[in-house]
């Protein structure tokens, strides 16, 4: 068991990709393909459809499965594909997990949507059941901002004993929480950062990488940062981290999915608008994103 845990596929820079839809509601496979090709060429270590950035909450189950299938086709085994699983009910999570397993994902990232407040036992049940239902590596995911439920550290600890559960991605802004998890679960559970944490800090504490929407628009720079961290070259890593941080700042100010979609449009990927009722960002915000991105890309190309 410890052995299988060491082979966890969750590591490095894993961009959460957006879900580009055509007018008829079908996933734009061609665009997913182009985006995946470019991200893989930039060196990313995995691809994650159906995260917050992928607007999973706004998609039908059919659209979700289609997006996973299209991504697997596009990636074609070059890097692992991790699909997001999230539901209010255990049955809903199992259905998604099994479907994506059959489609051929390399792992799932499981989140919990809470309606009525859940206690720790109920939260534990949800994640444990999902991990039991598949024969796949599982990352558990917690995001107190969007999902109204949190995983206490003692529940995380208990979950870390499931053979399939290999990693946790925590999308709070509380970096101390990650150190608490590392202190308690290191060896059984890898820690990955989200875009609300500073990747550099998480890597330094013992993190294995980061899942991140913003990595879609700065993949090459993110990979460079990861490599500096992996080499423990902290002074250069800090220099690059400071240049990249405004991307995270900017995307935290507005609707994350809308921002990443706008950023990708700016970079030449016509991924379209966020799914209604979300409205496209205003021209003003799109300009802000555009100029922040330009500045960072320029600064980093000189530096990297």
């Amino acid at each position: 068991m410890a052995q299988s845990k060491q082979e966890s596929p969750f590591r490095g820079v894993v961009p959460y990709i957006v879900t580009p839809l055509k007018e008829d509601g079908e996933v734009n496979a061609e665009l997913v393909c182009r985006l995946c090709n470019d991200l893989i060429a930039a060196g990313v270590h995995g691809i994650a459809p159906l995260g917050s950035t992928g607007e999973y909450a706004y998609l039908s189950n059919d659209q979700r499965s289609q997006m996973v299938a299209v991504t697997i086709d596009a990636v074609a085994g070059r890097v692992p594909v991790f699909a997001g699983v999230a539901s209010y009910s255990v049955d809903g999570a199992l259905l998604q997990a099994k479907t994506y397993g059959r489609l051929g994902v390399d792992g799932i990232v499981v989140a919990l949507d809470a309606y009525f407040p859940l206690d720790e036992t109920e939260t534990f049940d949800y994640f444990w059941s999902a991990a039991d239902a598949v024969d796949l590596p599982v990352a558990i995911y917690t995001n107190p901002n969007f999902q109204r439920s949190s995983l206490s550290i003692s529940v995380v600890d208990k979950l870390s004993h499931h053979p399939n559960i290999r990693a946790i991605k925590d999308a709070s802004t509380n970096t101390g929480r990650l150190l608490s998890i590392l202190n308690r679960c290191e060896g059984r559970l890898d820690v990955l950062a989200a875009s609300s944490h500073i990747p550099l800090c998480v890597m330094m504490l013992g993190g294995k990488g980061w899942f991140s929407g913003p990595a879609c628009v700065v993949p090459r720079q993110s990979v460079a940062l990861y490599e500096l961290c992996a080499r423990r070259d902290w002074p250069k890593a800090l220099e690059l981290q400071k240049k990249l941080w405004p991307v995270n700042e900017m995307f935290a100010r507005y609707n994350l999915a809308a921002c990443i979609k706008a950023g990708l449009e700016r970079l030449g990927y016509p991924v379209g608008n966020p799914i209604p009722p979300q409205r496209p960002l205003t021209t003003e915000i799109r300009s802000e994103i555009s100029s922040t991105l330009s500045a960072i890309l320029q600064e980093c190309s000189l530096a990297c």
Copy 2:
């Protein structure tokens, strides 16, 4: 338009019914039928499947449609049936609304699940689009505790101008907000209470009734209260309201759906446990529910 608004079907006591599932995940039609018969015999003015109490969030789309169909069959036109519609996306809401319309509901109660925060325009779009998609009376519903989005009074005001939008059900605990809505929208939009408001107060301010999970377990008493309010017999209404209030108090302390299910079990309806990962209430809480219910039923039978 004003005319059609006056014929709104949303009024009186409308119990939110639970969703009893069989082991195979199918809706227990027989039990829904028995429950509806008893509620109608008790005098309720409508029946509402797929509310919070109906655990809509935990059901698949197929289960939802099945529950609506089963309820319509069970009610057989004796009182109107209002189905809950809730989604993160406009498309998801439209799909549900149209499906339930085809199945023959008499109205829909539309709620918004928010993932990324929405501004007022986006919130407006969602509700307006749903109202546009059907040829049915629509009640808009807001519940800041469970849905992480709220409808400002100016958005409510704008929505009240849609010909299909006839009523609002507000599940905050802020009764002053209802008076603000009545002051602004009376004539265009009827106000109904939820179980977090004191029905007596809402009726006195000009409300037309209440949607309520707890009405499932005290239907006769709720109808008696409604009739006292309708007759403006405030002293007797207050006396009854005070006796009934502990039901709302008790159900607010714990998971609402689990409580109503436990209450119905106590009254002889084997509706089963809440949907996992929700766990059944502890024996202790079930006893508390049982004895509170007994006390109220006895007190009110003497009084009513």
Copy 3:
């Protein structure tokens, strides 16, 4: 004890008055006197210095004592004077309570400022200690919006057994909570509304009146509403309540103390600006207050 409880002085319309300061930081006694005279002439049943509206949090202990002394002088026994007591520490509360007792107040309204979170026992201790320290009627006060602590209903119940504790003023917006308290403590504890509740509703449920900043600017109308409620003339009371409600709405939108100060300025009382760092309201908001007030005063003068 039950007897003394029946003679509680907390009833009717009790305006929270503002604290007008001169340039040197001294309380403007002349203005307090004029305001109290006018409020008493309008029929109010008590006067309350050192509430939220009185900006107690922004005053030094010396200014607080001065404000209480000045108010007692101004009122000259015509109606009771109730001073606000609020502190983080028991000792701080006792010092204020004893000082105001010596100055001659007719009762105190005790609130708790919480820094570190307190459990129920600690909260209980604070209020019980304050009630023990004086030989005066005590109203306990809870305001979850401003004081980061709340009184659970079981703590309220326990406190209601103290002979000095006669009333509760709850400034949440949750009117159901008041019915829960009435059901549990009626006979031992009178319930009074705050400006976040609809006075009409609270009166109908069995409330004894309301403490309110807005009553400073519509005293005559508030007294008229109280009298309609006391006479149980609900239809007329509702009519007046609906006309008056926009005052509460407006003052809930902005800084309450700044609003009441602006409203009083508009009515000819030069009470000055809110205490820094609070800034005076913008000209735009002052105009909104002015025109809302004008509309209400005109509508009500025709009606009252």
Copy 4:
């Protein structure tokens, strides 16, 4: 101006010390003296009375001044003394700041207690006014958990241009916010960690040290950690940081001041109970603190 900023005294490990009171409410000067001597012997770089840990909110102004005077006497110039200033009003802050300046502090740490919500201009006014009132180095402090107000990064940026404002201590748990501040204000404003951040991470990002209640009970270990960070010996710093982190974790679970007082009692300083209505920690929690402390002290003595 840039020059004076470089000489900022806010750096290194600065323990927030508790306020030990005698039965008569006087500060226990002897105990403060012993504690300061021991902390200075352990190598701390400054001493900070009147923080959250010092229970400033629960003290009278007289007790506050006494505590500052006693600390200055005890420290006798060996390290700088920084006194906490916090008030709802500008006048209250100025009074404290000037008093402590006259008593001879080496700097002040200014926090804002918010009652009515304040906008950015009002927040700015408060801090700028306090910095203007003294001829002392000022650290601005923000703690969203306890003070219901936050400093946006653009307000922090504006404040960083005041010649007296040299440092910021942020007690959120959001480490990314510190990087945003560093990116924007480095050179004008030093960043210090609070006990909710991982000191190692903040130091790595460019921080200058940390203000911390827990440093009272692990001063020698904290200084060792600081020195490893200062030497950029990250691997050893991480090793020690991981061992020390459970102190911060433990103190975050309960009332911070009560914990530090209990920890100091355990170490032989009879500093007494937290100020009422706060109750002493239960025996169970005190045992937990005791054994956590023992474990850490032993582990670190082997390591350091």
